[in-house]
Subunit: 322 residues, 2 copies
Protein backbone atom coordinates (compact mmCIF):
# COMPACT_ATOMS: atom_id res chain seq x y z
CA UNK A 1 0.00 0.00 0.00
CA UNK A 2 1.40 3.39 -0.93
CA UNK A 3 0.10 6.56 0.63
CA UNK A 4 -0.05 9.73 -1.37
CA UNK A 5 0.22 13.07 0.42
CA UNK A 6 -3.45 13.62 -0.16
CA UNK A 7 -4.21 10.24 1.47
CA UNK A 8 -2.95 11.33 4.89
CA UNK A 9 -6.16 12.91 6.23
CA UNK A 10 -8.07 9.80 5.15
CA UNK A 11 -5.51 7.49 6.81
CA UNK A 12 -5.72 9.50 10.02
CA UNK A 13 -9.53 9.41 9.84
CA UNK A 14 -9.49 5.62 9.45
CA UNK A 15 -7.07 5.18 12.38
CA UNK A 16 -9.28 7.46 14.46
CA UNK A 17 -12.23 5.27 13.52
CA UNK A 18 -10.48 2.17 14.87
CA UNK A 19 -8.85 0.60 11.79
CA UNK A 20 -5.70 -1.19 13.06
CA UNK A 21 -4.12 -1.36 9.59
CA UNK A 22 -4.39 2.40 9.11
CA UNK A 23 -2.86 2.91 12.56
CA UNK A 24 0.00 0.49 11.84
CA UNK A 25 0.69 2.43 8.65
CA UNK A 26 0.80 5.73 10.54
CA UNK A 27 3.22 4.30 13.10
CA UNK A 28 5.46 3.07 10.27
CA UNK A 29 5.48 6.53 8.69
CA UNK A 30 6.58 7.95 12.04
CA UNK A 31 9.19 5.26 12.66
CA UNK A 32 10.69 5.64 9.20
CA UNK A 33 10.84 9.43 9.51
CA UNK A 34 8.65 9.82 6.43
CA UNK A 35 8.70 13.25 4.76
CA UNK A 36 4.90 13.06 5.06
CA UNK A 37 5.09 13.29 8.85
CA UNK A 38 4.26 16.99 8.84
CA UNK A 39 0.91 16.24 7.29
CA UNK A 40 0.33 13.33 9.65
CA UNK A 41 1.06 15.43 12.71
CA UNK A 42 -1.09 18.31 11.50
CA UNK A 43 -4.04 15.93 11.09
CA UNK A 44 -3.42 14.12 14.41
CA UNK A 45 -2.93 17.21 16.61
CA UNK A 46 -6.60 18.02 17.31
CA UNK A 47 -7.60 14.35 17.80
CA UNK A 48 -5.24 13.41 20.64
CA UNK A 49 -5.01 14.28 24.34
CA UNK A 50 -7.30 11.72 25.97
CA UNK A 51 -5.20 8.61 26.60
CA UNK A 52 -3.46 7.72 29.81
CA UNK A 53 0.20 6.92 29.21
CA UNK A 54 1.96 4.44 31.51
CA UNK A 55 5.71 3.80 31.27
CA UNK A 56 7.28 0.52 32.38
CA UNK A 57 11.01 0.20 32.77
CA UNK A 58 13.60 -1.89 34.59
CA UNK A 59 16.70 -4.02 34.04
CA UNK A 60 16.74 -6.84 31.49
CA UNK A 61 15.23 -9.93 33.09
CA UNK A 62 12.88 -7.98 35.37
CA UNK A 63 9.88 -9.43 33.55
CA UNK A 64 8.69 -6.27 31.82
CA UNK A 65 6.88 -8.10 29.02
CA UNK A 66 5.08 -10.40 31.48
CA UNK A 67 3.97 -7.46 33.63
CA UNK A 68 2.92 -5.56 30.50
CA UNK A 69 0.89 -8.55 29.35
CA UNK A 70 -0.77 -8.87 32.79
CA UNK A 71 -1.65 -5.15 32.71
CA UNK A 72 -3.15 -5.51 29.25
CA UNK A 73 -5.36 -8.32 30.56
CA UNK A 74 -6.36 -6.24 33.60
CA UNK A 75 -7.28 -3.12 31.60
CA UNK A 76 -9.12 -5.16 28.98
CA UNK A 77 -11.12 -6.63 31.88
CA UNK A 78 -12.20 -3.04 32.66
CA UNK A 79 -13.37 -2.66 29.06
CA UNK A 80 -10.54 -0.29 28.13
CA UNK A 81 -8.71 -0.28 24.81
CA UNK A 82 -4.97 -0.80 25.31
CA UNK A 83 -1.94 -0.05 23.14
CA UNK A 84 1.58 -1.31 23.91
CA UNK A 85 4.65 0.44 22.55
CA UNK A 86 7.87 -1.48 23.22
CA UNK A 87 10.90 0.74 22.73
CA UNK A 88 14.27 -0.76 22.04
CA UNK A 89 16.84 1.99 21.86
CA UNK A 90 19.76 -0.38 22.32
CA UNK A 91 20.22 -0.62 18.60
CA UNK A 92 20.99 2.60 16.80
CA UNK A 93 22.35 0.48 13.97
CA UNK A 94 20.12 -2.42 13.09
CA UNK A 95 16.83 -1.08 14.37
CA UNK A 96 16.29 -4.58 15.71
CA UNK A 97 13.69 -5.04 18.40
CA UNK A 98 13.84 -7.89 20.88
CA UNK A 99 11.20 -9.91 19.13
CA UNK A 100 11.56 -12.88 21.46
CA UNK A 101 9.91 -10.86 24.19
CA UNK A 102 7.04 -9.97 21.95
CA UNK A 103 6.11 -13.60 21.45
CA UNK A 104 4.88 -13.69 25.04
CA UNK A 105 2.34 -11.05 24.11
CA UNK A 106 0.57 -13.26 21.60
CA UNK A 107 -2.29 -13.92 24.04
CA UNK A 108 -3.58 -10.55 22.91
CA UNK A 109 -2.80 -10.89 19.21
CA UNK A 110 -6.38 -11.55 18.09
CA UNK A 111 -7.98 -8.83 20.26
CA UNK A 112 -8.92 -5.83 18.07
CA UNK A 113 -8.89 -3.56 21.09
CA UNK A 114 -5.24 -4.30 21.78
CA UNK A 115 -2.50 -2.85 19.59
CA UNK A 116 1.11 -3.99 20.10
CA UNK A 117 4.11 -2.48 18.42
CA UNK A 118 7.90 -2.72 18.88
CA UNK A 119 9.82 0.34 17.81
CA UNK A 120 13.43 1.30 17.27
CA UNK A 121 14.59 4.63 15.89
CA UNK A 122 15.68 4.52 12.28
CA UNK A 123 16.70 7.79 10.79
CA UNK A 124 13.90 9.65 12.50
CA UNK A 125 14.65 13.37 12.73
CA UNK A 126 15.25 13.93 16.43
CA UNK A 127 15.51 10.19 17.20
CA UNK A 128 13.40 8.37 19.76
CA UNK A 129 12.95 11.55 21.81
CA UNK A 130 10.81 12.94 18.98
CA UNK A 131 9.43 9.69 17.55
CA UNK A 132 8.00 8.32 20.81
CA UNK A 133 5.61 11.21 21.55
CA UNK A 134 4.55 11.17 17.90
CA UNK A 135 3.63 7.49 18.10
CA UNK A 136 1.87 8.14 21.41
CA UNK A 137 -0.13 10.88 19.68
CA UNK A 138 -1.12 8.48 16.89
CA UNK A 139 -2.22 5.81 19.41
CA UNK A 140 -4.08 8.45 21.40
CA UNK A 141 -5.86 9.71 18.27
CA UNK A 142 -6.78 6.08 17.49
CA UNK A 143 -8.77 6.21 20.73
CA UNK A 144 -6.77 3.86 22.93
CA UNK A 145 -7.61 4.53 26.58
CA UNK A 146 -4.34 3.24 27.98
CA UNK A 147 -0.94 3.38 26.26
CA UNK A 148 1.80 1.26 27.85
CA UNK A 149 5.34 2.27 26.90
CA UNK A 150 7.82 -0.47 27.73
CA UNK A 151 11.54 0.40 27.66
CA UNK A 152 14.56 -1.85 28.09
CA UNK A 153 17.21 -0.89 30.61
CA UNK A 154 17.88 2.19 32.64
CA UNK A 155 20.10 4.32 30.43
CA UNK A 156 19.62 8.03 29.86
CA UNK A 157 17.39 7.58 26.81
CA UNK A 158 15.20 5.06 28.64
CA UNK A 159 14.83 7.49 31.52
CA UNK A 160 13.94 10.27 29.07
CA UNK A 161 11.31 8.12 27.42
CA UNK A 162 9.91 6.95 30.74
CA UNK A 163 9.63 10.61 31.74
CA UNK A 164 7.23 11.11 28.84
CA UNK A 165 4.62 8.91 30.54
CA UNK A 166 1.93 10.14 32.90
CA UNK A 167 2.86 7.37 35.34
CA UNK A 168 6.09 5.38 35.48
CA UNK A 169 6.32 1.89 36.95
CA UNK A 170 9.86 0.68 37.67
CA UNK A 171 10.36 -3.08 37.87
CA UNK A 172 12.90 -4.58 40.24
CA UNK A 173 13.80 -8.26 40.53
CA UNK A 174 14.42 -9.74 43.98
CA UNK A 175 18.05 -10.47 44.73
CA UNK A 176 19.47 -8.49 41.83
CA UNK A 177 21.82 -6.11 43.58
CA UNK A 178 22.39 -4.39 40.26
CA UNK A 179 18.75 -3.44 40.00
CA UNK A 180 18.83 -1.75 43.34
CA UNK A 181 22.06 0.01 42.48
CA UNK A 182 20.57 1.23 39.23
CA UNK A 183 17.49 2.24 41.17
CA UNK A 184 19.63 4.22 43.58
CA UNK A 185 21.56 5.84 40.78
CA UNK A 186 18.83 7.16 38.57
CA UNK A 187 15.52 5.40 38.64
CA UNK A 188 14.41 6.56 42.05
CA UNK A 189 13.55 9.99 40.77
CA UNK A 190 11.34 8.82 37.92
CA UNK A 191 9.45 5.96 39.62
CA UNK A 192 5.81 6.65 40.49
CA UNK A 193 5.27 3.01 41.46
CA UNK A 194 7.88 0.35 42.26
CA UNK A 195 7.05 -3.20 41.24
CA UNK A 196 9.00 -6.03 42.85
CA UNK A 197 8.18 -8.74 40.33
CA UNK A 198 8.98 -12.45 40.73
CA UNK A 199 7.97 -11.87 44.35
CA UNK A 200 7.80 -15.63 44.97
CA UNK A 201 11.60 -15.65 45.08
CA UNK A 202 13.15 -15.93 48.55
CA UNK A 203 14.91 -12.55 48.41
CA UNK A 204 11.72 -10.59 47.66
CA UNK A 205 11.22 -9.50 51.25
CA UNK A 206 14.75 -8.13 51.43
CA UNK A 207 14.35 -6.22 48.16
CA UNK A 208 11.12 -4.59 49.38
CA UNK A 209 12.90 -3.59 52.60
CA UNK A 210 15.86 -2.11 50.67
CA UNK A 211 13.51 -0.09 48.47
CA UNK A 212 11.55 1.10 51.50
CA UNK A 213 14.75 2.26 53.22
CA UNK A 214 15.81 4.05 50.07
CA UNK A 215 12.43 5.80 49.76
CA UNK A 216 12.52 6.83 53.42
CA UNK A 217 15.62 8.89 52.65
CA UNK A 218 13.98 10.88 49.85
CA UNK A 219 12.90 14.39 50.72
CA UNK A 220 9.23 15.07 50.00
CA UNK A 221 6.85 17.91 50.64
CA UNK A 222 3.39 17.36 52.18
CA UNK A 223 1.47 17.29 48.86
CA UNK A 224 4.08 15.19 47.02
CA UNK A 225 3.43 11.70 45.68
CA UNK A 226 5.06 8.92 47.69
CA UNK A 227 5.82 6.00 45.34
CA UNK A 228 4.25 2.80 46.66
CA UNK A 229 5.95 -0.61 46.38
CA UNK A 230 3.83 -3.40 44.90
CA UNK A 231 4.86 -7.05 44.85
CA UNK A 232 3.74 -9.13 41.87
CA UNK A 233 4.12 -12.56 40.32
CA UNK A 234 3.09 -11.46 36.87
CA UNK A 235 3.11 -15.00 35.44
CA UNK A 236 0.24 -15.97 37.79
CA UNK A 237 -1.38 -12.53 37.97
CA UNK A 238 -0.69 -12.17 41.71
CA UNK A 239 -0.57 -8.53 42.76
CA UNK A 240 -1.63 -7.16 39.38
CA UNK A 241 -4.94 -5.82 40.75
CA UNK A 242 -3.02 -3.99 43.46
CA UNK A 243 -0.71 -2.56 40.79
CA UNK A 244 -3.59 -1.18 38.69
CA UNK A 245 -5.09 0.19 41.92
CA UNK A 246 -1.90 2.10 42.73
CA UNK A 247 -1.68 3.36 39.14
CA UNK A 248 -5.29 4.60 39.44
CA UNK A 249 -4.42 6.44 42.65
CA UNK A 250 -1.44 8.04 40.91
CA UNK A 251 -3.64 9.07 37.99
CA UNK A 252 -6.04 10.84 40.41
CA UNK A 253 -3.12 12.51 42.14
CA UNK A 254 -1.76 13.74 38.79
CA UNK A 255 -5.09 15.41 38.02
CA UNK A 256 -5.48 16.89 41.50
CA UNK A 257 -1.95 18.26 41.74
CA UNK A 258 -1.76 19.79 38.25
CA UNK A 259 1.17 17.48 37.57
CA UNK A 260 -0.68 15.80 34.72
CA UNK A 261 -0.76 18.99 32.65
CA UNK A 262 2.84 19.73 33.58
CA UNK A 263 3.98 16.29 32.31
CA UNK A 264 2.07 16.70 29.05
CA UNK A 265 3.72 20.04 28.38
CA UNK A 266 7.12 18.58 29.28
CA UNK A 267 6.51 15.79 26.74
CA UNK A 268 5.70 18.35 24.01
CA UNK A 269 8.73 20.38 25.09
CA UNK A 270 11.11 17.46 24.49
CA UNK A 271 9.43 16.61 21.23
CA UNK A 272 9.61 20.10 19.73
CA UNK A 273 13.20 20.60 20.93
CA UNK A 274 14.26 17.23 19.48
CA UNK A 275 12.70 18.07 16.09
CA UNK A 276 14.30 21.51 15.97
CA UNK A 277 17.71 20.21 17.07
CA UNK A 278 17.46 17.35 14.56
CA UNK A 279 16.86 19.89 11.78
CA UNK A 280 19.81 22.00 12.98
CA UNK A 281 22.04 18.94 13.13
CA UNK A 282 21.15 18.19 9.52
CA UNK A 283 21.99 21.76 8.48
CA UNK A 284 25.35 21.53 10.29
CA UNK A 285 26.41 18.56 8.20
CA UNK A 286 25.26 20.14 4.94
CA UNK A 287 27.05 23.48 5.32
CA UNK A 288 29.41 24.16 2.43
CA UNK A 289 33.16 24.76 2.72
CA UNK A 290 35.57 24.79 5.63
CA UNK A 291 33.00 25.78 8.26
CA UNK A 292 31.01 22.55 7.91
CA UNK A 293 31.13 20.02 10.71
CA UNK A 294 33.38 17.56 8.84
CA UNK A 295 36.38 19.85 8.14
CA UNK A 296 36.10 21.42 11.61
CA UNK A 297 36.09 17.99 13.27
CA UNK A 298 39.23 17.00 11.34
CA UNK A 299 41.02 20.11 12.66
CA UNK A 300 39.91 19.34 16.23
CA UNK A 301 41.13 15.74 15.88
CA UNK A 302 44.53 17.06 14.75
CA UNK A 303 44.79 19.44 17.72
CA UNK A 304 44.78 22.52 15.41
CA UNK A 305 41.55 23.84 16.84
CA UNK A 306 39.84 23.44 20.18
CA UNK A 307 36.27 22.08 20.21
CA UNK A 308 34.68 25.31 21.51
CA UNK A 309 36.29 27.41 18.80
CA UNK A 310 35.04 24.82 16.30
CA UNK A 311 31.51 24.95 17.73
CA UNK A 312 31.58 28.77 17.55
CA UNK A 313 32.67 28.69 13.93
CA UNK A 314 29.95 26.15 13.16
CA UNK A 315 27.26 28.25 14.85
CA UNK A 316 28.43 31.34 12.98
CA UNK A 317 28.26 29.53 9.64
CA UNK A 318 24.84 28.16 10.55
CA UNK A 319 23.38 31.56 11.31
CA UNK A 320 24.97 33.03 8.17
CA UNK A 321 23.37 30.30 6.04
CA UNK A 322 19.82 31.04 7.15
CA UNK B 1 41.61 25.42 45.64
CA UNK B 2 40.13 28.05 43.37
CA UNK B 3 41.37 28.48 39.84
CA UNK B 4 41.43 31.90 38.29
CA UNK B 5 41.09 32.18 34.53
CA UNK B 6 44.77 33.09 34.34
CA UNK B 7 45.62 29.89 36.28
CA UNK B 8 44.36 27.58 33.51
CA UNK B 9 47.56 27.37 31.44
CA UNK B 10 49.52 26.62 34.61
CA UNK B 11 47.03 23.94 35.68
CA UNK B 12 47.24 22.32 32.23
CA UNK B 13 51.04 22.50 32.37
CA UNK B 14 51.07 20.76 35.76
CA UNK B 15 48.69 18.02 34.57
CA UNK B 16 50.87 17.55 31.49
CA UNK B 17 53.87 17.22 33.81
CA UNK B 18 52.18 14.36 35.70
CA UNK B 19 50.58 16.08 38.72
CA UNK B 20 47.48 13.96 39.56
CA UNK B 21 45.85 16.75 41.60
CA UNK B 22 46.04 19.20 38.71
CA UNK B 23 44.53 16.55 36.42
CA UNK B 24 41.73 15.79 38.90
CA UNK B 25 40.95 19.50 39.01
CA UNK B 26 40.79 19.70 35.20
CA UNK B 27 38.43 16.73 35.05
CA UNK B 28 36.19 18.40 37.66
CA UNK B 29 36.08 21.60 35.60
CA UNK B 30 34.97 19.54 32.60
CA UNK B 31 32.44 17.50 34.56
CA UNK B 32 30.89 20.58 36.13
CA UNK B 33 30.66 22.36 32.80
CA UNK B 34 32.80 25.23 34.10
CA UNK B 35 32.67 28.49 32.14
CA UNK B 36 36.49 28.22 32.09
CA UNK B 37 36.31 25.16 29.84
CA UNK B 38 37.06 27.19 26.73
CA UNK B 39 40.42 28.15 28.16
CA UNK B 40 41.09 24.59 29.31
CA UNK B 41 40.32 23.16 25.88
CA UNK B 42 42.40 25.79 24.10
CA UNK B 43 45.40 24.89 26.28
CA UNK B 44 44.86 21.12 26.00
CA UNK B 45 44.32 20.95 22.22
CA UNK B 46 47.99 20.87 21.13
CA UNK B 47 49.06 18.47 23.91
CA UNK B 48 46.75 15.54 23.18
CA UNK B 49 46.55 12.89 20.45
CA UNK B 50 48.91 10.19 21.66
CA UNK B 51 46.88 7.92 23.97
CA UNK B 52 45.20 4.72 23.01
CA UNK B 53 41.53 4.70 24.06
CA UNK B 54 39.86 1.39 24.90
CA UNK B 55 36.14 1.17 25.63
CA UNK B 56 34.64 -1.57 27.80
CA UNK B 57 30.93 -2.16 27.89
CA UNK B 58 28.39 -4.86 28.72
CA UNK B 59 25.34 -5.61 30.85
CA UNK B 60 25.34 -4.99 34.60
CA UNK B 61 26.94 -7.99 36.31
CA UNK B 62 29.26 -8.81 33.41
CA UNK B 63 32.29 -8.01 35.57
CA UNK B 64 33.39 -4.82 33.83
CA UNK B 65 35.20 -3.43 36.87
CA UNK B 66 37.08 -6.70 37.43
CA UNK B 67 38.14 -6.89 33.78
CA UNK B 68 39.14 -3.21 33.87
CA UNK B 69 41.22 -3.82 36.98
CA UNK B 70 42.90 -6.85 35.36
CA UNK B 71 43.70 -4.76 32.26
CA UNK B 72 45.19 -2.01 34.42
CA UNK B 73 47.48 -4.59 36.05
CA UNK B 74 48.45 -6.01 32.64
CA UNK B 75 49.27 -2.62 31.08
CA UNK B 76 51.13 -1.48 34.20
CA UNK B 77 53.19 -4.67 33.84
CA UNK B 78 54.20 -3.36 30.37
CA UNK B 79 55.31 -0.10 31.99
CA UNK B 80 52.43 1.89 30.54
CA UNK B 81 50.57 4.65 32.38
CA UNK B 82 46.85 3.88 32.57
CA UNK B 83 43.78 6.05 33.16
CA UNK B 84 40.31 4.65 33.85
CA UNK B 85 37.19 6.68 33.16
CA UNK B 86 34.02 5.01 34.47
CA UNK B 87 30.95 6.56 32.90
CA UNK B 88 27.61 6.24 34.60
CA UNK B 89 24.98 7.85 32.43
CA UNK B 90 22.11 6.11 34.21
CA UNK B 91 21.59 9.08 36.44
CA UNK B 92 20.72 12.32 34.73
CA UNK B 93 19.35 13.53 38.06
CA UNK B 94 21.64 12.74 40.95
CA UNK B 95 24.89 12.47 39.07
CA UNK B 96 25.59 9.47 41.29
CA UNK B 97 28.23 7.02 40.17
CA UNK B 98 28.15 3.40 41.23
CA UNK B 99 30.83 3.82 43.83
CA UNK B 100 30.55 0.25 45.09
CA UNK B 101 32.17 -0.91 41.87
CA UNK B 102 35.02 1.50 42.30
CA UNK B 103 36.03 -0.02 45.59
CA UNK B 104 37.28 -3.08 43.73
CA UNK B 105 39.76 -0.83 41.96
CA UNK B 106 41.56 0.14 45.13
CA UNK B 107 44.46 -2.20 44.34
CA UNK B 108 45.67 0.59 42.10
CA UNK B 109 44.88 3.49 44.40
CA UNK B 110 48.45 4.14 45.51
CA UNK B 111 50.00 3.82 42.03
CA UNK B 112 50.85 7.32 40.68
CA UNK B 113 50.81 5.99 37.13
CA UNK B 114 47.18 4.95 37.44
CA UNK B 115 44.38 7.52 37.44
CA UNK B 116 40.81 6.39 38.18
CA UNK B 117 37.75 8.56 37.86
CA UNK B 118 34.00 7.98 37.86
CA UNK B 119 31.99 10.49 35.90
CA UNK B 120 28.35 11.40 35.45
CA UNK B 121 27.11 14.35 33.42
CA UNK B 122 25.99 17.30 35.49
CA UNK B 123 24.88 20.31 33.57
CA UNK B 124 27.63 19.93 31.02
CA UNK B 125 26.80 21.73 27.80
CA UNK B 126 26.22 18.91 25.33
CA UNK B 127 26.04 16.24 28.04
CA UNK B 128 28.22 13.15 28.15
CA UNK B 129 28.62 13.16 24.38
CA UNK B 130 30.69 16.34 24.70
CA UNK B 131 32.15 15.80 28.19
CA UNK B 132 33.63 12.35 27.53
CA UNK B 133 35.97 13.35 24.67
CA UNK B 134 37.00 16.41 26.69
CA UNK B 135 38.00 14.27 29.66
CA UNK B 136 39.77 11.88 27.29
CA UNK B 137 41.69 14.86 25.90
CA UNK B 138 42.72 15.91 29.42
CA UNK B 139 43.90 12.37 30.28
CA UNK B 140 45.72 12.18 26.96
CA UNK B 141 47.46 15.52 27.57
CA UNK B 142 48.45 14.21 31.02
CA UNK B 143 50.46 11.59 29.14
CA UNK B 144 48.53 8.44 29.93
CA UNK B 145 49.38 5.78 27.38
CA UNK B 146 46.15 3.83 27.75
CA UNK B 147 42.74 5.27 28.61
CA UNK B 148 40.06 2.74 29.55
CA UNK B 149 36.49 4.00 29.28
CA UNK B 150 34.08 1.76 31.16
CA UNK B 151 30.35 2.23 30.51
CA UNK B 152 27.40 0.58 32.23
CA UNK B 153 24.75 -1.05 30.09
CA UNK B 154 24.00 -1.10 26.43
CA UNK B 155 21.71 1.89 25.87
CA UNK B 156 22.11 4.38 23.05
CA UNK B 157 24.32 6.75 25.05
CA UNK B 158 26.57 3.89 26.15
CA UNK B 159 26.92 2.78 22.54
CA UNK B 160 27.73 6.35 21.51
CA UNK B 161 30.39 6.63 24.18
CA UNK B 162 31.86 3.23 23.35
CA UNK B 163 32.04 4.39 19.73
CA UNK B 164 34.41 7.14 20.83
CA UNK B 165 37.09 4.59 21.71
CA UNK B 166 39.78 3.32 19.36
CA UNK B 167 38.93 -0.26 20.38
CA UNK B 168 35.75 -1.51 22.02
CA UNK B 169 35.62 -4.66 24.15
CA UNK B 170 32.11 -5.99 24.82
CA UNK B 171 31.70 -8.20 27.89
CA UNK B 172 29.22 -11.04 27.89
CA UNK B 173 28.40 -13.30 30.85
CA UNK B 174 27.85 -17.01 30.24
CA UNK B 175 24.23 -18.10 30.51
CA UNK B 176 22.75 -14.63 30.45
CA UNK B 177 20.34 -14.86 27.57
CA UNK B 178 19.71 -11.16 27.90
CA UNK B 179 23.33 -10.34 27.21
CA UNK B 180 23.28 -12.24 23.99
CA UNK B 181 20.01 -10.65 23.00
CA UNK B 182 21.42 -7.22 23.73
CA UNK B 183 24.50 -8.21 21.80
CA UNK B 184 22.35 -9.24 18.86
CA UNK B 185 20.35 -6.06 19.03
CA UNK B 186 23.02 -3.42 19.06
CA UNK B 187 26.38 -4.36 20.43
CA UNK B 188 27.48 -6.56 17.59
CA UNK B 189 28.25 -3.60 15.39
CA UNK B 190 30.45 -1.80 17.89
CA UNK B 191 32.43 -4.74 19.34
CA UNK B 192 36.05 -5.04 18.23
CA UNK B 193 36.69 -7.82 20.75
CA UNK B 194 34.14 -9.98 22.58
CA UNK B 195 35.05 -11.02 26.12
CA UNK B 196 33.18 -13.96 27.65
CA UNK B 197 34.02 -13.29 31.28
CA UNK B 198 33.31 -15.64 34.19
CA UNK B 199 34.33 -18.35 31.74
CA UNK B 200 34.59 -20.92 34.56
CA UNK B 201 30.79 -21.08 34.56
CA UNK B 202 29.29 -24.18 32.96
CA UNK B 203 27.44 -22.27 30.20
CA UNK B 204 30.58 -20.50 28.90
CA UNK B 205 31.09 -22.93 26.03
CA UNK B 206 27.53 -22.41 24.84
CA UNK B 207 27.87 -18.61 25.01
CA UNK B 208 31.06 -18.69 22.92
CA UNK B 209 29.30 -20.89 20.37
CA UNK B 210 26.29 -18.53 20.22
CA UNK B 211 28.57 -15.54 19.67
CA UNK B 212 30.53 -17.41 17.01
CA UNK B 213 27.33 -18.27 15.13
CA UNK B 214 26.20 -14.69 15.36
CA UNK B 215 29.52 -13.40 14.01
CA UNK B 216 29.45 -15.91 11.17
CA UNK B 217 26.29 -14.21 9.89
CA UNK B 218 27.85 -10.74 9.73
CA UNK B 219 28.88 -9.54 6.30
CA UNK B 220 32.52 -8.51 6.06
CA UNK B 221 34.85 -7.44 3.29
CA UNK B 222 38.35 -8.97 2.86
CA UNK B 223 40.22 -6.16 4.71
CA UNK B 224 37.65 -5.83 7.50
CA UNK B 225 38.36 -6.60 11.13
CA UNK B 226 36.80 -9.82 12.41
CA UNK B 227 36.09 -9.46 16.15
CA UNK B 228 37.75 -12.28 18.09
CA UNK B 229 36.13 -13.93 21.13
CA UNK B 230 38.30 -14.15 24.25
CA UNK B 231 37.34 -16.11 27.37
CA UNK B 232 38.49 -14.71 30.71
CA UNK B 233 38.16 -15.27 34.43
CA UNK B 234 39.15 -11.75 35.39
CA UNK B 235 39.19 -12.47 39.13
CA UNK B 236 42.10 -14.93 38.63
CA UNK B 237 43.65 -13.17 35.61
CA UNK B 238 42.97 -16.12 33.30
CA UNK B 239 42.78 -15.04 29.67
CA UNK B 240 43.78 -11.43 30.33
CA UNK B 241 47.09 -11.79 28.42
CA UNK B 242 45.13 -13.11 25.44
CA UNK B 243 42.77 -10.14 25.72
CA UNK B 244 45.60 -7.57 25.66
CA UNK B 245 47.11 -9.52 22.75
CA UNK B 246 43.88 -9.23 20.74
CA UNK B 247 43.60 -5.54 21.63
CA UNK B 248 47.17 -5.03 20.38
CA UNK B 249 46.30 -6.76 17.11
CA UNK B 250 43.28 -4.48 16.75
CA UNK B 251 45.42 -1.42 17.42
CA UNK B 252 47.79 -2.45 14.60
CA UNK B 253 44.85 -3.06 12.29
CA UNK B 254 43.45 0.42 13.10
CA UNK B 255 46.72 2.02 12.09
CA UNK B 256 47.13 -0.07 8.94
CA UNK B 257 43.57 0.39 7.71
CA UNK B 258 43.33 4.14 8.32
CA UNK B 259 40.41 3.41 10.65
CA UNK B 260 42.28 4.92 13.61
CA UNK B 261 42.26 8.39 12.05
CA UNK B 262 38.65 7.94 10.98
CA UNK B 263 37.59 7.12 14.54
CA UNK B 264 39.45 10.11 15.95
CA UNK B 265 37.73 12.45 13.54
CA UNK B 266 34.37 10.85 14.34
CA UNK B 267 35.01 11.48 18.04
CA UNK B 268 35.73 15.17 17.38
CA UNK B 269 32.68 15.30 15.11
CA UNK B 270 30.36 14.16 17.92
CA UNK B 271 32.02 16.48 20.39
CA UNK B 272 31.74 19.63 18.28
CA UNK B 273 28.15 18.82 17.25
CA UNK B 274 27.15 18.18 20.88
CA UNK B 275 28.65 21.51 22.00
CA UNK B 276 26.98 23.44 19.19
CA UNK B 277 23.60 21.74 19.73
CA UNK B 278 23.88 22.31 23.49
CA UNK B 279 24.39 26.02 22.86
CA UNK B 280 21.41 26.10 20.48
CA UNK B 281 19.25 24.26 22.99
CA UNK B 282 20.13 26.91 25.58
CA UNK B 283 19.19 29.70 23.16
CA UNK B 284 15.85 27.99 22.41
CA UNK B 285 14.84 28.10 26.05
CA UNK B 286 15.92 31.72 26.49
CA UNK B 287 14.06 33.16 23.49
CA UNK B 288 11.65 35.92 24.51
CA UNK B 289 7.90 35.91 23.90
CA UNK B 290 5.53 33.43 22.33
CA UNK B 291 8.10 31.82 20.03
CA UNK B 292 10.15 30.39 22.90
CA UNK B 293 10.13 26.67 23.52
CA UNK B 294 7.92 26.85 26.63
CA UNK B 295 4.86 28.62 25.11
CA UNK B 296 5.14 26.57 21.90
CA UNK B 297 5.25 23.31 23.88
CA UNK B 298 2.11 24.34 25.80
CA UNK B 299 0.26 24.88 22.50
CA UNK B 300 1.44 21.50 21.17
CA UNK B 301 0.29 19.80 24.40
CA UNK B 302 -3.16 21.38 23.95
CA UNK B 303 -3.41 20.18 20.34
CA UNK B 304 -3.52 23.78 19.01
CA UNK B 305 -0.30 23.38 17.09
CA UNK B 306 1.46 20.40 15.57
CA UNK B 307 5.06 19.74 16.66
CA UNK B 308 6.60 20.41 13.23
CA UNK B 309 4.91 23.79 12.96
CA UNK B 310 6.17 24.52 16.48
CA UNK B 311 9.72 23.46 15.55
CA UNK B 312 9.56 25.69 12.44
CA UNK B 313 8.43 28.67 14.50
CA UNK B 314 11.20 27.99 17.02
CA UNK B 315 13.86 27.77 14.31
CA UNK B 316 12.60 30.99 12.73
CA UNK B 317 12.77 32.82 16.07
CA UNK B 318 16.22 31.39 16.70
CA UNK B 319 17.63 32.62 13.40
CA UNK B 320 15.95 36.02 13.90
CA UNK B 321 17.56 36.36 17.32
CA UNK B 322 21.11 35.95 16.07
Amino acid sequence: MTTSASGIPELVERAHGGDPRALARLVSLIEDGSPRLRGVMRALAPLAGHARVIGLTGSPGAGKSTVTSALVTAYRGQGLRVAVLAIDPSSPFTGGALLGDRIRMQDHAVDRDVFIRSMASRGHLGGLAAATPQVVRALDAARFDVILIETVGVGQIEVEIASMADSVAVLVVPGMGDSIQAAKAGILEIADVFVVNKADRPQAHETVRDLRNMLALAERGPGDWKPPIVTTVATTGDGVAELTGKLDKHWSWLERSGERERRRVARAHEEVAALALGALRGRMSRLPGESALGPLAARVADGDLDPYAAADELLGALSGSQ
